[in-house]
Symmetry: C2
Subunit: 128 residues, 2 copies
DNA sequence: CAGCATCCTGCGTGATACTG
DNA sequence: CAGTATCACGCAGGATGCTG
């Protein structure tokens, strides 16, 4: 179905947004990266916070999310090309500009969803 | 997975947000409803704008999205209980408070995703 | 008109094992 | 350490047909 993907990107920013951040971890990855570059393992570990620990994040999944984010231009991958492997991910300019949007989401969620998990007591959310 | 929903709601507003708006149409429905109450058919028709028309929205899908939104407390369902059936959906207070968030998303998307679909040249995004 | 019942399919996600 | 390769599964979401 829907073979011809010549669809005009739907023309809806909201839909494009949804596709871009589709996936369980993309938003959280970007959010975590706002504080600076992080390595693969660090992201993985950081993502486990807030989860009930019943499930570890499959490398395949995280890998794909990171790749998608990279291709979306939100994050940048820096491979140090050394052994043992060291790879850092950091926000691009575009990615940084996206942080306030996530902040707005978090803000709303905190207020209207009465989240009991203050992993962070509302960080900077200064819109540009 | 995650049978025991005793999980602490993940503690992440972002994750909760993603669950709440998961689905292809939820965000667009809320956005469309910001201009006032709409009937089932109107929502359905309105949602078709921006799609390449290759696929109609299955009633089952739209129905589920609307029900989910209702249970999320973002929209309210008003059944006139007449024949032929007339049902209107409108934003709740919570739903209205969510509109600015979508506006922020649209704003960002329009700027950074270069969307060519100006279904509306940025409508009012005044928070309440 | 506003749905619900049924079937079907692709993809996102998880688990496990292996590699440079 | 930072991934890739495979297998498997549940569910979102599309297609039809029917109903009050």
């Amino acid at each position: 179905m829907a073979k011809a993907k010549s669809a005009p990107t739907c023309g809806c920013p909201v839909t494009a947004f949804q596709k871009m951040i589709s996936g369980k971890y993309k938003l959280r990855i970007v959010w975590d990266l706002k504080e600076g570059p992080r390595r693969y393992g660090e992201i993985r570990t950081g993502l486990l916070r807030g989860l009930d620990g019943s499930s570890e994040i499959a490398p395949r999944v995280l890998s794909r999310e990171l790749k998608a984010l990279t291709e979306s231009g939100l994050i940048d991958r820096k491979d140090y090309g050394v052994v043992p492997p060291k790879v850092e991910y950091r926000l691009t300019r575009k990615g940084k500009s996206f942080v306030p949007v996530i902040a707005a989401i978090r803000n709303w969620g905190t207020r209207h969803l009465a989240q009991a998990g203050p992993d962070e007591p509302l960080a900077g959310m200064a819109a540009e």
